[in-house]
Assembly symmetry: C2
Homo-oligomer: 434 residues x 2
């Protein structure tokens, strides 16, 4: 399998560490000089840029939290010359102040290179015809994928999300070989294809899918592969990773699928105990902490991602030497606290999708019955399948075993639950907000 | 006012002609060698590439029609190495087979440069913060604007269309100085701003707008300027021009607003009598015929745009020496044939928007009453304005004078007609299709 930037992707550990030290020293100096927020943070703990003499000393740099980005919205964390900024992206901000990221031309180049590395590691080449169905706009996902695909030199058909029948028509007309979009949209595409009498495996030439925007379980990926007749890469949970605070989507698994490659020449990876802030022993789970080593406009250092992961720092069989997220144990943001129990929606999905009788259309309703939290799983069966009362009871038992909390299962008519062309919304929390 | 590529934009006529001859000879040779459709066309009339010895000989190259692009969809007109194609755009194809365009990296660069020239000629600079609200996707408009803005080095906030309240919030938070989107969306933005108690003139920092995607009359532009407190450029009808067959949006007016600059180093301009195919005398109206001199992937030569224009080949006061469309008399596609009379929707808009009592929310219903075509103009008044029966009669009289056909005016309740975040749909043709 080819590389996008072989020299950089297969650097020795020593080279990586040397480069990282130089780059983080540079970022700290620049931020200290240019950014009042960062300078105050360092001054408060009486650290000077010159104190970072080795990678050991990185632990003296204060953490950055999501709240820091929100409190300094929109431009409080911009560093260097504002005139060089040529792009702004941000989160939707539906749950509060958005998190924004500013980019120079060079930042966009770094980002596109990281995405190009991911795509090439996953098997994309310049002969591919790609339908790019992540929505193009303020979110980092769409343009992040677009510029990465363009950098590889693939033929990009920038459909954006939606227009499912047209997506299928274009796949036939152009002989599209690669699809990019959310995993739930890939499954919806397969559903509409079948309705329209198109057999994706026989009638389309898809060979690869790159999925971002939302997590998907191994079982969901298996269904995508089976129904669209391609190999799905990315798609969260050990396969795709990124966040606006680090610039957007940045990492994916390669064709060996041994974990998500984090590009260490551009991002420094630390894994800490979220309670103490100390490093966890190698191979142990902990919170992922990332530093952006290359961005000029808004370099965020030691960002507390809130994501619980296991990182493997040994080389991958593919020849890439950078660290990999081998286990993604959950994003703290996605976790629900239900009557004192932690529930990850991905756990529910894992149980549901192991049932061949059930479709991938489901939602989790969290309610409140006089102070007692309730969980209700609504799920559609596969078309034509009749679900018995006993089956429902068994499924409730499995969910209880797995979640350690009781939840009610309701079988919904086929086609009654919402479909999603972008990110799927699986959780409806009807509890009163305090 | 600065230039983007001063040397190229202010070449002498002699230099332009010399360059054009070299480039069109190159395109003809390449197409003849690489494209069977074009080769057959030339062979049929016994013309060889070597026969094009001067610009006089360009008239021997056969015209290309929209039907040629449709009949050869998707890739029949691609020229050269398909491997070098990295982007595909196309029209919606709602009225039939889409028109598609393929681009190499170099083609995208040429396109971005043309757009950058337009923006700089209109007053944009790298310090501007731009909210880009043309929808990003398969249409050429969105990514065409995006790459041009990026090339200038302006700070692009790629909102895409829609999310109007959020657009306004971002304008306040980021101090946005430039808005790009359809003219009708600009007016809708102003409407929502007023509803939300935001005075765009006082509360926002907008200073320029670049509008594409649909024509707008001078009166509509005046209203945009007044309500959003900025200078609107582009927006069709003597201000912005482009078509998928030539790669997308490509031309706009400069700050002198003397006509749309057509970049003659990349596009050859001819004006012909649509019936005879002969050149019209300089300064006379005729059909615009364009040849793409620089594109590699799919160069279209002598394309019959169907647009009736007057072109001025003399230099503009801004110093740019390329030809300008000084009068845009109508796009044949937009023309309605109503009981034997040609009606352009822009004529209706022109009459309506001269009435200060009327809003810019209107639509034209074309009906059929036992074989007799009918025209009904539905329009909302400005909020709070009461329209009398006499006023309606007078307006019907004005429309009759202007259109030379009778039409009925119906005043609609404020807020009852559709608003558009993208291209406005003004004509509803309810006649039976034959």
């Amino acid at each position: 399998m080819p590389f996008w930037q072989q020299d950089l992707e297969s650097m020795s550990q020593e080279q990586i560490q040397k480069l990282q030290l130089k780059k983080i020293q540079n970022q700290v100096s620049k931020l200290y000089k240019d950014n009042t927020f960062f300078k105050k943070k360092l001054d408060d703990i009486q650290v000077k840029p010159g104190d970072i003499k080795s990678l050991e000393d990185v632990k003296y740099i204060p953490f950055t939290y999501k709240e820091d980005l929100r409190n300094n919205y929109p431009t409080g964390l911009v560093c260097g010359n504002w005139d060089n900024v040529i792009r702004i992206h941000m989160t939707s901000g539906t749950t509060g102040v958005p998190v924004a990221m500013a980019y120079t031309k060079n930042d966009l180049d770094v980002w596109a290179d990281c995405m190009a590395r991911n795509f090439v590691a996953g098997g994309l080449h310049s002969g591919d015809i790609v339908q790019q169905a992540h929505g193009l706009g303020l979110f980092t996902g769409g343009l992040g994928f677009h510029y990465g695909l363009e950098r590889v030199g693939a033929k990009v058909i920038p459909t954006g999300s939606g227009g499912t029948e047209r997506q299928l028509r274009l796949m036939k007309e152009w002989g599209t070989t690669v699809f990019t979009g959310t995993p739930s949209y890939a499954l919806y595409l397969a559903e509409i294809a079948m309705e329209k009498g198109i057999d994706p495996v026989k009638d389309l030439k898809l060979r690869l899918g790159f999925h971002g925007g939302e997590p998907c379980t191994d079982e969901m990926r298996r269904r995508i592969n089976e129904r669209l007749g391609y190999t799905a890469r990315g798609g969260g949970m050990r396969r795709c990773y990124g966040l606006t605070e680090m610039g957007g989507p940045m990492s994916m698994d390669c064709h060996y699928a041994t974990g998500i490659h984090l590009w260490a020449d551009h991002y420094m990876v630390e894994v800490i105990n979220p309670d103490t802030g100390e490093y966890t022993p190698p191979g142990e789970p902990g919170e992922l902490v990332l530093s952006n080593l290359s961005f000029e406009a808004m370099p965020i250092l030691r960002y507390r991602t809130g994501d619980r992961v296991i990182v493997d720092f040994s080389p991958c069989p593919c020849g890439r030497t950078h660290p990999r997220i081998t286990n993604f144990l959950g994003r703290v943001d996605d976790m629900l606290l239900v009557s004192g129990t932690n529930v990850f929606p991905s756990q529910v999905e894992n149980v549901l999708l192991q049932q061949s009788e059930l479709s991938e259309n489901w939602q989790l309703m969290v309610g409140d019955n006089k102070g007692l939290h309730t969980l209700r799983v609504e799920v559609e069966p596969m078309p034509g399948v009749i679900i018995s009362e006993k089956y429902i009871k068994d499924l409730e038992g499995k969910l209880h075993d797995f979640l350690e909390i009781r939840c009610k299962v309701v079988i919904m008519p086929v086609g009654s639950l919402a479909r999603f062309e972008g990110k799927a919304v699986r959780v409806v929390d009807e509890r009163k907000k305090i």
